[in-house]
């Protein structure tokens, strides 16, 4: 059963209907999520938010916007562009994904390196809970009194309720932006350059790495001017005031050359800058020319472990006889190994899954986490014990249950079954809490 509410009140009606008929419900935006967080399981009521798509209010002075959850990420930025503002989180799917979905997954994007993921840009959320009640979490004042319930809700993948209105922070456009492309003959040099940039006291606006395979694929596809014979390229963007940006461009150029960059290309104008980014953003289109299917992973390792883990990722691909490409947010250690394959090939899915499991295990062993921006959903639910103890999972289950005692909101996601341990100590008789 699927419904398409047009107002917050209709979302409440939909949830109440689910309560009456003892059904679970799942909120769904554009369905661009990669971890299965919005995938219906056991025939829940699917509440699609795409018709809740109005920008309700924009404040230039206070730099926020109230939006409905079905507003597309890029549409909000387009709507406020003439005011010199933008919405900072920029997932690769930003033309198609909804802000409600971004809130659910705590979505990231290349520019989250300096500006932070979705949680740092959400001021307030109006939520319909599993019993049909409505509350405002957070607010336009800097802090809400009491617990940061807004902070708990962001990234909860629909398991704590459905957002019906969201106040997001708008960010002033930087006065100056510069984009650089550095190319290397080894992955190690590119990795050392990433560390060198951070060590030089620079946190760029974006710091993306693409390996040999994906660079070649992208260049063949869009002709962005990437060197086809590079072992790795770094696409780096810095922004801010003119002199600070010039200082950063000079420092990055120096660090790149110190670590064996063959060329450091600074986009001369907006057209060249757009072309360089087009290469990065066309990565997933480019791979369609190589094989019909792909599996995109998402994990994070400490920045200092990037190269070491990449080497393991290649070894895993080699062992499983799979084509592996890497295009990822190097600046914050967020790996996106991309397995390219043809699903018609017998037995390939098993190898793809095995490789995925091994990649996750390698990332965790290096001190990393399961997801940087896609979320856990169904995909990584059973991997949660890799990073969390039974006590850790129990605490998360308790938080979820506090928000949704009925367990009606998107059950079966994020936490593996049996996360809730035995009861904590009982309330002493007569105690008042």
């Amino acid at each position: 059963m699927v419904c398409f509410p047009r107002t917050g009140a209709e979302v409440v009606h939909a949830v109440r209907a689910a309560v009456r008929h003892d059904r679970a419900f799942v909120a769904r935006g554009s369905g661009t999520g990669l971890a299965g967080g919005a995938t219906p399981v056991d025939e829940p009521l699917v509440i699609v938010t795409t018709r809740l798509n109005r920008v309700l209010e924009v404040s230039v002075d206070e730099r926020y916007a109230w939006v409905e959850p079905g507003v597309l990420n890029l549409d909000l930025t387009r709507e406020v562009a003439h005011l010199g503002l933008h919405y900072a989180p920029d997932p690769s799917s930003q033309q198609a994904c909804t802000i409600g979905g971004n809130v659910a997954t705590n979505a990231g994007g290349p520019h989250c390196l300096s500006s932070g993921v979705t949680a740092t840009h959400v001021l307030a959320v109006e939520v319909v809970f599993g019993d049909g009640s409505v509350a405002m979490l957070g607010g336009l004042e800097p802090d809400a009194p009491g617990y940061d319930l807004r902070g708990c809700f962001v990234g909860s993948e629909g398991t704590m309720g459905i957002a019906t209105r969201i106040a997001v922070r708008l960010t002033p456009d930087p006065p100056v932006v510069r984009t650089l492309l550095l190319d290397f003959t080894t992955i190690e040099d590119a990795g050392a350059t990433v560390s060198g940039i951070i060590a030089a006291g620079i946190v760029p606006a974006a710091l993306e790495m693409m390996d040999a395979e994906i660079t070649k694929a992208v260049e063949d596809y869009v002709g962005a001017g990437y060197p086809r014979d590079a072992a790795a390229v770094l696409l780096i963007e810095v922004d801010g005031l003119a002199d600070g940006v010039a200082h950063q461009v000079a420092a990055i150029t120096r660090v790149g050359h110190e670590h064996g960059a063959r060329t450091v290309r600074v986009a001369a104008d907006e057209a060249e800058r757009a072309l360089l980014w087009k290469g990065r953003k066309s990565a997933f289109g480019a791979i369609a020319r190589i094989a019909p299917d792909y599996y995109l992973h998402d994990a994070v390792v400490p920045r200092t472990k990037l190269v070491e883990v990449l080497r393991q990722v290649y070894a895993i691909a080699h062992e499983q006889q799979l084509t592996m490409m890497n295009v990822f947010h190097a600046g914050d250690g967020n790996l996106h190994p991309l397995i390219v394959f043809d699903a018609r090939e017998p037995g390939v899915w098993e190898r793809v899954h095995r490789a995925g499991d091994e990649i996750l295990a390698a990332c965790v062993a290096a001190g990393g986490v399961l997801s940087g921006e896609h979320g856990i959903g169904l995909e990584k639910r059973e991997a949660m014990p890799l990073v969390f103890s039974p006590d850790d999972l129990d605490a998360q289950a308790r938080l979820r249950d506090a928000f949704d005692p009925s367990g009606r909101a998107n059950p079966q996601k994020v936490l593996p079954r049996g996360s809730r341990c035995g009861e904590l100590q009982r309330v002493p008789e007569g105690a008042w809490i």
């Binding site: 949680a119 617990y147 940061d148």
Partner: protein, 341 residues
């Protein structure tokens, strides 16, 4: 991790006690409610010291009992900082996080809750629970670290935290001007703080020298270099949170209430101090009238809570009960109503 024996002892103490209050540097001891007292309240301290710090990762993991000043000194050696900015450098990292009080540079650096990547805390059963993760980017599971920030010691005893670091700015300078603070805000790209006391506006600019000079030139009207503002001081202190657009009107009301104040323009935080409890109560009323609230930081023992009902009181009560069913942590703080049903 801190020394295992020390941690084991802490866990054991928490598990056995009927009432527990985590204690840090006692620099924010009065924040939010009456300090927990009574013979049955066991005061516990978190371990201190650096657990891991690799400057290239731009993160640092410390015992929650580490003093903010010591952490700042350590990071400065490698040209980094974590913009915690406590009122008193003797505050512990865990204590500051528990109060949720963001520093003066929030306009540029963001709120305290955005600094925290991973938290380990001792739960009501005396077991160590981890929330979040050590990497700078992470959406693995629910956001327990944000729940802990500002929880006033009511969810558990924080023992270890990983926070995000930043490169130290090359230059950090304060400027003072008589210009309208809201015009200053509109004219600048990324000031770190705009502090306004009703007459003078003080602006903190950070970055490379040329950027600071460029921003300085953009400040409307005449301005001079200035010392960092000292927060309003007094026996009775509090912090107001209102939406930034309410600040102009709130300033007049605070003057009438007879408190000294310093507002963070563009943020909506106002630091207030008065010579008596009545003045602080007046400041609270002025904040509440404008949709905000006031958290007591010192003095004024009658002004507990926030001056208005907690939003979603039943949800808040359920959250607290989920982690602390017996209400043993920091009794008296973060008032919640009884959970029904």
């Amino acid at each position: 991790m801190p020394a295992l024996a020390e941690l084991d002892e802490l866990c054991d103490t928490v598990a056995r006690a009927r009432a527990v209050a985590p204690i840090g540097g006692r620099t924010h001891w009065e924040v939010g409610g009456p300090p927990p007292t009574g013979d049955d309240v066991v005061l516990v301290r978190a371990p201190s010291g650096v657990v891991t710090y690799d400057p290239a990762d731009l993160t640092v993991t410390v015992g929650a009992g580490t003093r903010c000043g010591e952490l700042a000194a350590l990071l400065a050696v490698d040209g980094q900082e974590c913009a915690l900015d406590p009122r008193d450098p003797d505050a512990t990292v865990g204590g500051l996080l528990a109060t949720g009080l963001s520093g003066r540079r929030r306009l540029r650096h963001g709120p305290l809750r955005d600094r925290v990547l991973e938290v380990r805390f001792v739960n009501a059963d005396g077991r160590v629970v981890k929330g979040g993760g050590p990497t700078v980017k992470n959406v693995t599971g629910f956001d327990l670290p944000r729940l802990l920030v500002g929880s006033l010691g009511t969810i558990g005893v924080m023992v270890q935290v990983t926070v995000r670091c930043e490169p130290l700015p090359a230059v950090a300078e304060w400027f003072a001007t008589d210009a309208d603070p809201f015009a200053v805000r509109a004219a600048l790209y990324r000031p770190s703080c705009i502090a306004w006391d009703g007459t003078r506006t003080r602006v903190l600019l950070e970055g490379v020298r040329a950027d600071v000079e460029a921003e300085r030139a953009a400040i409307p009207g005449a301005c001079t270099t200035a010392a960092a503002p000292t927060g309003p001081d007094g026996a009775h202190r509090g912090r107001i949170s209102v939406r930034p657009s309410a600040l102009a009107a709130l300033g007049d009301a605070l003057d009438r209430a007879g408190v000294r104040w310093s507002a963070e323009v563009g943020v909506g935080t106002v630091h207030v101090a008065g010579d008596d409890e009545v003045a602080l109560a007046g400041a609270r009323a002025a904040a509440v009238d404008r949709g905000g609230w006031l958290l007591r930081e010192a003095g004024a023992p009658a002004l507990d809570g926030f001056g208005r009902d907690l939003p979603s009181p039943r949800l808040s009560a359920r959250v607290r009960a989920a982690f602390d069913p017996a209400g043993k942590f920091s009794p008296g703080r973060l008032p919640t109503e009884a959970v029904d049903g």
